[in-house]
């Protein structure tokens, strides 16, 4: 090993972090025998410490930890038993509401049927939206998981109206999961059942 080879090796050496790293052993031994190289290594160590101190002296804002903790997203999506309980609760309350409306409107309730409409809006995971008013990009990952798992999917139009999205004979969750929290345009038949506005989707276009 010559001085240049030793320098090339020791360029990466950090005292004491790399002391146990065998790749530096030979070059360090060489530096012990070579005063000029030892001096160069000392200068390198000083320079390393100076840069390290400058970078480590950077202080985080005082209130950063509190801010992060305060705005912590609520753990919800990962607890599937909670999701299922919530979905069951929504279905039961929707069922009770529907039954009440049925009794109230018996004999005079028209089933609104299908005018074709085209709406543009954000794809919603309806469970979280109805229960907690969660929507938007920060909730996208959760919304995608919920929609993929088969929970009700909806769309919120620019004028604030929310529709349940259904397929003709099957769910449209698989087609919409990737668009969770994104804006899409949907064409389909507008219907209403017991007061719930819904669209039977025929075409989805990513806006």
């Amino acid at each position: 090993m010559n001085t240049n080879e030793a320098k090339e090796k020791l360029l990466l050496y950090r005292d004491p972090i790399d002391d146990a790293d065998p790749q530096f052993r030979e070059a360090l031994a060489y530096a012990h025998r070579n005063p000029e190289l030892a001096e160069w290594l000392r200068e390198q160590a000083g320079c390393y410490q100076a840069i390290r101190s400058k970078l480590r002296d950077v202080e985080a804002p005082r209130d950063l930890a509190e801010k992060i903790i305060r705005n912590q997203p609520i753990r919800f999506c990962m607890d599937w038993t909670q999701i299922l309980k919530l979905a069951a609760a929504i279905i039961i309350s929707a069922g009770i509401t529907a039954a009440s409306l049925e009794l109230w409107h018996r004999g005079k309730r028209p089933v609104l049927q299908g005018q074709e409409i085209v709406v543009k809006g954000e794809v919603l995971d309806l469970t979280c939206y109805v229960a907690y008013n969660w929507s938007g990009p920060k909730h996208a990952s959760c919304a995608m998981d919920c929609i993929k798992s088969g929970l009700p999917v909806g769309i919120k139009t620019e004028d604030g109206k929310v529709y349940l999205l259904t397929g003709k004979e099957a769910h449209v969750n698989d087609q919409l999961a990737d668009y969770a929290a994104k804006v899409v345009t949907v064409r389909g038949k507008e219907t209403a059942r017991d007061g719930f506005a819904q669209i039977q989707v025929e075409e989805i276009r990513k806006f």
Binding site: L12, I17, E43, G46, Q49, V58, L64, I68
Partner: protein
């Protein structure tokens, strides 16, 4: 008060380290704050997916760097000078030279180094990580880590020799 003590403990333990890493990568307080926050929120949503919960710090650093790269992709890319591969022409920079510049100048200089080289160099200086651990954080092989750090260090020293020290007001 957080309803999630695990999240709160993790934030208190690592927010400074993550902020420093973010600040050294971006040179911006706002970006470093955003990156730090986003990293913890990603952890909060994905903690159950961690394969090795013992290496949570490494996971946080990896995630922050991934978010940083997303920012880079969305912003106009800055053309960086090519990195010199010749380690023989290693410029001499003393500790005094570094001490004469302020932290912001150092961050500006780091910002002139290509992102692919900047992250390993920052971890080399900031954290007590072995080269193997740096490679794990950045998901690059050990040999690549070392060559990138060596080249980035030479580039940093070249830039520092061209940097004027701060002058007293």
């Amino acid at each position: 008060m957080s309803a999630d003590p695990e999240f709160e403990n993790l934030v208190k333990l690592y927010y400074r380290d993550l902020y420093r890493f973010g600040f050294s990568l971006t040179g911006s307080e706002v970006d470093a704050t955003d990156l730090t926050q986003e990293t913890f929120y990603i952890w909060a949503n994905k903690r159950h997916q961690l394969r090795n919960p013992g290496n949570v710090k490494g996971w946080l650093f990896t995630t922050l760097r991934r978010e940083f790269l997303k920012i880079c992709r969305h912003r106009k890319r800055v053309a960086h000078e090519p990195i010199n591969e010749d380690a023989q022409n290693f410029p001499h920079v003393s500790a005094d030279v570094v001490n004469r510049i302020d932290a912001q100048t150092l961050l500006n200089v780091l910002g002139e180094i290509d992102e692919g080289y900047r992250a390993p160099l920052v971890l080399y200086y900031l954290e007590d990580l072995s080269y193997k651990q740096i490679g794990e954080v950045l998901a690059i092989p050990l040999g690549t880590v070392q060559s990138r750090i060596a080249r980035a260090k030479i580039k940093l020293f070249e830039l520092l020799t061209e940097t004027k020290p701060r002058t007293a007001a």
